[in-house]
Assembly symmetry: C2
Homo-oligomer: 862 residues x 2
């Protein structure tokens, strides 16, 4: 979920000098490019309040409702909540009771949708947010420090005061004046050139003039609107030029026509949803709003609110065109029979979305101008109704998850003259995201179904044809599941059609058909909850008290390792890791690229000082190497550290690495628990960790009513998924000493590993951990490698070195909780009581099993 967690959400406020209006929306700061937001105002949680000037009600209530543990996600939560409150309070709804917002409880449940939290389980956060809602019943909220549960003392006056509107100025007056006074200047229709190679063309002509000017000769140029695509397709190299096409008026056009609506490609998805909702609200023809309404509803499940606010409609479709991107939007617009307007040099073209998606990947010489979505209206004269439905199967029903498969089906239904049974025509059956180059129409199925009665054999044939059409690409996960869901979607669509037919006279219910959603997850009923309450008999035990530091976390004051300001001359490192499970590393080179030019040096095993050891981690099962040298022992093992002047340079430079491997004379790697057993490859289990027999197994089995004589359980590995990835900052100090700030669950062990690696006394190493942004076991021994690598680099280079693993490196190198295979026999009484248990557990305790599962040794327990 890199670039999708919401921890960095901020409020962006935009000022319209003509209307003298400020509009506010949330956005991920990690995806927002600073030259894209010139003249905007940014509010972070630090801008809401702080411990010195006073905290904001949101921050205080996050604390009072115990809504934070590690606190890493809390600033983003606060900003999503604040944006929701600020926007709700701007609505024309009636004034709420004093102390409340206009936000509703139902909106409160979705106020921070997309903000991930790994510790609290969301419930307390929802409580904090609901406490602002005008329709909340305060008694229903969970444990908090403001009143005792069940004491009927819940009262808004006990809550930290909230002022309608949020009470924070989101757009400073000086910036308004600056905008007003520079209005003339801004309207001058020249390409604006801002710092760092940014170009802002103001017209299509200017765009092409720019492209043809030759200034982008050998440059890496990036054409951007919202830049949220970088959340999916991460930058592979640095860019030295950017063209911001968001300022070209043709790309922001909204044209309402009789035949449909044309939406400029640069329109944000959230704005598109609003437009579609407004449009469907304005259509008086019964059922005429169906397509727009369903599209809007589906789009509100795409990504997260803070991504939809900046991501453009066109950008999504372009990603779908260029990459095998699992776009919902391309599929549903394809299902809605949309067309696109393109600019190719001086020509304007209109092609169907289908044709567009099938073209070779777009290059900057073609501009996607707009998307046209046709109106589909029932015709009561011809008794023809419109049917339209969209579907998505994804890990989370409310969105913010890539679909396993999505689809959208459009058709006209009329009644077959003699039988009165429904017949379909004008079918658009679109499928996407199932492991395809791009969304497709199931044309054979469309043709097959057109004009036919939906008899069981017709439907069965349709399913056969669909199975031939929906063929996931090689390497797609769960291919069978995806195909079967596709069939299910089609079946569901076809079966719903007959529901629209009024018996016994058999007419089409045109006014209401398909207007009721079969699935209303987007406006869900409030989530249920259950809370276990303890009495206060043993007061103060059990009494709700504020957790130390939540306010600091909520106000953004809490300093995590990467929040420590970079010391003077700080350098940044990123790991090079092995992509082979067991291989000699012959050479490490870099592709020529902008990013490679930023490499200052590469630190590897050769840089370990004499007297030091190649050690990166240590625990009761032994030591782990810091660097795989000369043999990379497993995929994900560090081979070196790329050093550059910024973390971004280091990260992108690492992507240019070319490692040459050689597996000559090496045995095949051990990749599974079974292979480990077969190769007799076990860890030495320290005696104190070998379980001792308790009771008499045979006796227990004899007493059992039911017996499991032998069975096998397998548990897959699981990524720890702390919000803050592994990070460390090493600062060399006088007399060969080293201060290492480490996000570690075991700073005391980190110290000894670092000292061993550098070959210096323990007292020369100081490891400081103030807090971690989530650990869940993943920042125990796994944090040592990062801290030790940073310390080694700092020691060698005599400058501070910071390492902050990107999510992808983190997942590959850190791996997950160990996959387990267990065998057991057990006996039970009829009431379920266990009388006997014999358990054998095999744990894959190797490094990085997720990256490429190599077990080095296996822990064997009886």
């Amino acid at each position: 979920m890199e670039r999708g967690c919401g921890a960095c959400v901020v409020l962006i406020a935009k000022y319209n000098p003509t209307k003298d209006e400020v509009s506010e929306f949330s956005a991920s700061s990690c995806l927002t490019l600073v030259y894209n937001i010139n003249f905007y105002s940014i509010i972070t949680t630090e801008g809401l309040g702080n411990t010195q000037d006073g905290l904001h009600a949101i921050q205080k209530r996050m604390s009072g409702f115990h809504a934070s543990q590690c606190g890493f996600c809390t600033p983003g939560m606060c900003m999503s909540i604040f944006t929701s409150l600020a926007n709700a309070d701007k609505s024309k709804e009636p004034e709420p009771l004093n102390g409340f917002s206009k936000l509703t409880v139902s909106e409160a449940e979705r106020a921070f949708s997309g903000n991930l939290c790994r510790c609290t389980g969301y419930r307390p956060i929802v409580d904090a947010c609901k406490s602002f809602a005008s329709d909340v019943d305060l008694e229903d909220l969970g444990l908090n420090i403001f009143w005792k549960k069940g004491d009927k003392h819940a009262d808004v006056s006990k809550l930290p005061t909230y002022t309608l509107g949020g009470g924070v100025c989101t757009f400073p007056d000086f910036l308004k004046s600056e905008i007003k006074s520079s209005l003339d200047h801004l309207n001058v229709s020249n390409v604006t050139v801002s710092g760092e190679g940014w170009y802002h063309p103001k017209s299509i002509d200017q765009y092409y003039d720019l492209l043809n000017s030759g200034i982008f000769g050998d440059c890496c140029v990036k054409v951007v609107v919202g830049n949220t695509g970088a959340g999916v397709y991460k930058d592979r190299d640095l860019y030295n030029k950017y063209i911001d096409i968001g300022g070209i008026p043709e790309l922001s056009v909204i044209l309402r026509k009789d035949s449909g609506i044309e939406i400029g490609a640069a329109t944000p998805i959230s704005r598109t949803i609003e437009i579609l909702e407004q449009e469907s609200g304005s259509i008086s023809v019964p059922n005429g709003s169906l397509v727009f309404r369903k599209l809007a509803k589906h789009m509100s499940k795409v990504a997260t609110p803070f991504v939809r606010n900046t991501a453009s409609l066109g950008g999504n479709i372009i990603l779908a065109q260029k990459y095998p991107f699992a776009s919902d939007i391309a599929t549903i617009l394809l299902g809605a029979a949309s067309t696109v307007h393109l600019q190719v040099a001086s020509q304007t073209l209109e092609v169907t979305l289908e044709e567009f998606l099938e073209q070779p990947p777009l290059d900057p010489s073609t501009l996607l101008l707009s998307i046209f979505i046709p109106h589909w209206t029932p015709d009561s004269q011809t008794q023809t109704n419109v049917v339209f439905e969209t579907y998505r199967a994804a890990p989370r029903p409310l969105g913010n998850a890539v679909s396993y498969i999505n689809s959208a089906f459009l058709g006209l239904v009329s009644l077959n003259e003699p039988s009165g049974d429904p017949v379909l025509s004008n079918l658009h059956l679109a499928f996407g995201a199932y492991g395809t180059e791009h969304a497709i129409r199931a044309t054979k199925v469309e043709e097959h179904l057109t004009g036919k009665l939906l008899t069981p054999s017709v439907v069965l044939e349709a399913v056969h044809l669909l199975r031939e059409t929906i063929v996931p690409m090689e390497g797609t996960s769960h291919p069978e599941y995806r195909v079967s869901v596709a069939v299910g979607f089609l079946f569901s669509f076809l079966s719903s059609i007959s529901e629209d037919i009024k018996g016994p006279g058999k007419t089409l219910n045109i006014s209401s058909a398909s207007s009721v959603d079969t699935d209303d997850l987007c406006n869900p009923t409030l989530s249920s909850r259950r809370e276990a309450l303890s009495g206060d008999d043993y007061k103060p035990v059990g009494e709700p008290i504020k957790k130390y530091g939540v306010e600091l976390q909520a106000s953004g004051e809490a300093v995590y390792v990467d929040d420590i300001p970079a010391p003077k001359n700080c350098l940044y490192g990123e790991f090079i890791y092995s992509t082979k499970p067991l291989a000699y590393v012959k050479s490490i080179k870099f592709k020529p690229s902008l990013a490679s030019e930023k490499i200052l040096t590469v630190i590897s095993a050769k840089d370990i000082p004499s007297g030091g050891q190649n050690i990166g981690s240590s625990y009761v099962f032994g030591d782990e190497l810091l660097f795989g040298a000369p043999i990379a022992e497993c995929a994900g093992q560090a081979l070196g550290v790329v050093i550059a002047e910024t973390q971004r340079y280091a990260d992108l430079a690492r992507k240019q690495v070319i490692v040459e491997y050689d597996t000559k004379d090496l045995k095949p790697p051990i990749l599974t628990v079974e292979q480990a057993v077969q190769n007799n490859s076990y860890f030495n289990v320290p005696p104190e960790m070998i379980p001792k027999q308790v009771g008499d197994f045979s006796k227990g089995m004899a007493e059992a009513d039911h017996k499991i004589l032998s069975t096998e359980v397998k548990v897959a590995s699981q990524y720890y998924f702390y919000m803050e990835t592994q990070t460390a900052l090493a600062i060399p100090d006088e007399d060969n000493t080293m201060v290492v700030y480490s996000a570690s669950q075991y700073p005391e062990l980190a110290q000894s590993v670092i000292a061993k690696c550098l070959g210096i006394p323990l007292n020369n190493v100081r490891v400081i951990t103030r807090r971690v942004g989530g650990g869940f076991g993943g920042k125990a021994t796994k944090s040592f490698n990062v801290a030790t690598a940073a310390a080694l680099c700092a020691y060698k280079l005599r400058r501070p070195v910071r390492m902050y693993l990107n999510r992808s490196t983190d997942m590959v190198m850190v791996g997950g909780r160990h996959p387990v295979k267990a065998y057991y026999s057990a006996g039970f009484k009829s009431d379920g009581k266990i009388t006997a248990l014999h358990l054998e557990v095999l744990i894959n305790a190797g490094i990085s099993p997720d990256a490429s599962p190599v077990i080095q040794k296996v822990l064997y327990q009886v």
Copy 2:
């Protein structure tokens, strides 16, 4: 001694590409402007060695000879010693024994002349330096860790190895190549313009073209050669333009003529000394070298070696022309009847030095080109001899101290025909530095003495006339002393003349007269020493062991407070202090100036948070205010802190302050111990500090053979003179916490004062003191004000704030050890044993008694 302590001495190496020669000299880095040393190489003590790569022999021997305590001066010591070794080893002297340098013991004693140390007393440093000398007797050196004293085991092989030449490359090859390849470019005779407004004219014409070009319109422009004048006349404001005239060839001319020698004004003083020595060595006429030799010898007492290496001869004379600068050089050149060449626009003039000094203060339109020193040779035909002598009276005989008075006397001596007694003619009697606008000739005395026999009445009249001439300006310290020394100098000169006359035939001893120096302090015999040795009966007590950290201090790795790299967004503060002893502060304003433009804000008492207190220091006698508000209680009390982006900006901005005072309705301040007693103004002495009577005073007095019935002792205040001035770095951290790095002798008390001032709990304040660069009591309670002020500024501004007092502010604000007045009665036995003592001590315990001695309260002890 700001800019005169030598702690920042570095080696500057200069490369001559034509001769392929590197020359090395020491210089104060605090006085050296970086644009003045383009293409030079700098070696600091870090460049000699360090704990990670290995230490240099100098650093190891500094440690082994216990040659460091606080360590603040040690890097400068090392660099002065290294420069001396490197230059000695380049000489044509025979190769020394393996492991030794060509330096002699006598040179070793002067190797770091001018480097001040406040802790060790120099002896161990001299030992460390002497250990390199080719003619040293190692047994004579003091206690060290290499061998036991008196064990006759002293052996060079036991010392850390020294390689002849120093073993450090002082000029890197890449820079040599760069210089060679840019030779053509450098020779292009255009004005070079380097960064930050620096202009480097290459000819006199270019200089005037620059001046007349108008580019210096309203600018603050500084004309520089060595910039060492800034050590005496500190910059009062920022400059935005500099003209470096060191590159104008006419200013570096050396012209040897029959009539004398012309020396370019930009010639460094050290080079001038060399030239004069060479010149005097090349003169074959007996006694013809007298003037040059005496001038060279006198100049080697001016300032310090590391200042003489960059300070120009002309710069010194220009200071003497423009300011009442206590120049020795101007006086002795005046005495030597020198003339100067001036460029005034397109005209070249030659005027006597006397005329030059009397002109109105020079402005940049006049250039001092060169100084001409005439030859003075005896004439054996006419039996006329030359007499010349220079004198200085100063706190230190070897130099590096401003003279109370200096003088130089030149004359021709011939024998009066009838009597054969000496008669003087052509007299030049120059006096300076006694509190005069500039050096003068005592013309009345000269006229009076010319042609007269030196009878007692003639000499007495000369003394009378001299007393009328030498009249120190109002405000000069010790005026009577200075005048009496002037008389002494003249008397000494006159009396020496008769010594040159050979009786009984009375002829002038022309060949040797005045060739023997009356005062040879410049080539002193080795300093004597006495060492108390303890046996090693109680080993390991008394065994010499390395002090922890000396190597770190010597290698420059030791981190003092101001060595901590500036944190991100660090701001800098400098105190505004009161110049009145007791007055209301009505307003604080700033003169318009370049420096004033750099002021970001001024922090004062109004910025103390509610809940905090105006407290800057605290001890058993009570609290001291941080800021004098609304009343400045004493001169030197802080009124506020000027905040700027650099320490230099803050320091110079502070100099622009205009404080308006008002003493209406205030009593006169208490300025002396006596006034305090009169006003009954006492501290409350805590009971445990009140001394108790021991024994029986009356009985003791009765038993005494000798009695002092009552007497009074006064001890003046004394500045602590730590090398590192008061400094602190305050860094705000989360949750209203503050980390303060303080150079403090009482960090635990600093913590409580800071917490009280900010109104936060003690545990929110962390005071860190790793080491101090000397304290001597002055960094006890006096360090709290600085730490507290920095903390307050950082708290208010929410950014790190650093304060590093300049020496002048430090001396004014910190004051000194308390002046004491004591009365006592005592009785003694004949053998000196005390039988009775009654002591009453009055201590001026006020703030900053030196600045303007106001006693607030007085400690009274019996």
